[in-house]
Symmetry: C2
Subunit: 273 residues, 2 copies
């Protein structure tokens, strides 16, 4: 089975380059390791119109899962749930279970700090979900995640704070991806070639992929001519991990052979996390 995923990341900070979208990268890497298939990542600003437009466009492409990160907090520019409601054409409603979660969190905070916290409208906003949505417990923060079904797509809204996003993802999204993927396995390895330029590698890669049609090979130039260094990424998804490993290793051996015949140097690259 296939599990296609789209990611929408909400936050002006992404559009002014204050941060790179490392949330999307983290999610994409986890999804790939689970043999899911991220199709698109979209970064937009804290704008109701942008959020609802991006959600509508993503839903039209019918991904298995649509993940939205950011914009769930209590500040006025946290508009993800409102944007989601607008896209789905449903009202926002105070959801009792979400309210309980938010209230419990502040009660704990009060107990820990002795500081009185009222459930102001800003705070209650975190418990107002698009109709039909369910809260997902946030083990690392206040704003609950939100899950919602729409036709064949499961929409999950996650907080933008990395540790909160990751905690909900691991507990809640991972099982969902595993179930959708069924019994698929992803395997990848990287090689590093020197002494050949990308345009010399291109036909060697093509030849290797023709003989190993289940394997995908991509080249990334890392240092320019005249002393080129090119990273090669070889990957596949298969119904057994053994087949995935065999396919990738066989393709790697063939490509290494071809590069050596071409008077280049090539070696395995140990992946850094």
């Amino acid at each position: 089975m296939a599990c296609t995923v789209e990611i929408i990341s909400v936050g002006n900070e992404l559009l002014i380059g204050k941060i790179a979208n490392t949330n999307a990268q983290w999610i994409a890497r986890r999804i790939a390791s689970l043999s899911g298939n991220v199709r698109r990542i979209v970064d937009i600003g804290d704008s109701l119109q942008e959020i609802s437009a991006a959600v509508r466009e993503a839903l039209a492409r019918k991904p298995t899962i649509l993940l939205i990160t950011g914009g769930l907090g209590p500040t006025f520019d946290d508009m993800t749930l409102e944007g989601l409601a607008e896209a789905l054409n449903v009202p926002l409603k105070l959801e009792p279970e979400a309210e309980r979660m938010v209230r419990a969190r502040y009660e704990r905070y009060e107990a820990e700090t002795g500081r009185k916290i009222e459930l102001t409208p800003e705070r209650l906003k975190m418990a107002k979900l698009p109709e039909g949505g369910h809260p997902v417990k946030n083990p690392a923060g206040t704003a609950p995640g939100v899950v919602l079904e729409r036709e064949s797509t499961t929409i999950v809204a996650l907080p933008g704070v990395p540790r909160e996003m990751q905690a909900i993802f691991e507990e809640f999204v991972v099982p969902m991806v595993k179930k959708a993927v069924g019994d698929l396995h992803f395997y990848a390895k990287s090689l590093e070639a020197t002494g050949v330029i990308e345009s010399e590698l291109a036909p060697l890669i093509e030849k290797t992929m023709r003989e190993h049609p289940r394997v995908y090979i991509k080249s990334h130039p890392k240092a320019p001519e005249p002393r080129p260094l090119i990273e090669l990424h070889i990957s596949t998804t298969s119904e057994s991990m053994e087949t995935a490993v065999d396919d990738v290793e066989e393709a790697a051996r063939m490509l290494i052979q071809l590069v050596l015949e071409h008077e280049g140097n090539i070696q395995e690259l140990v992946e850094q996390e």
Copy 2:
């Protein structure tokens, strides 16, 4: 004047989380510093259909500039120009000036290394531009950039290799942004608040923004309750740099005052690059 920008980044490596989209972050930061306005960043895979769909969707929103990064090289999965041609409904054509650039690059490589390089179809692909497109010299690599006008949008395709992308951006895109922006100036500063939680800050931020409507303030929770640390980003765009600085500094002073009254701690944050 306003200069709205959309960025499309092409590359499967983004969708498996092998890398974060630091190219888009770099561009977004440069555009913000030039007082341009990045509206959307879209990451897609090396797929003809995805590229042409993303280009069509972006053009429909009529940005001033549409930047596309990646997919300009000689390998079979470099499909940006083909996708662009499909989106614009024009054929790909060998462009004489682009061919001259590619040829000159390989001749230099031959002279430097003594290695014979033929202009194979893979290499010539880098000189086949969508009809109406013009090549932009790549001072740091082989594949030229491409510029193309479509209605009110200027489309610029840039290589994915960061140093090549950055070199073309600085030489070619920066003057274009400056011209479109006219005489606008961007200024921003960051503060760091402790001892208050995000939902307590929300009304203080709102009050500050109401009194300083030209200023935009965004909060980023960095550490969770019960010892919250929140980064605050204050920014504006103005017709004079002096006004921009004054607006941001006044808003910062007001917000600092409000936080202190609220028994929180707040201080300026020195930005790290």
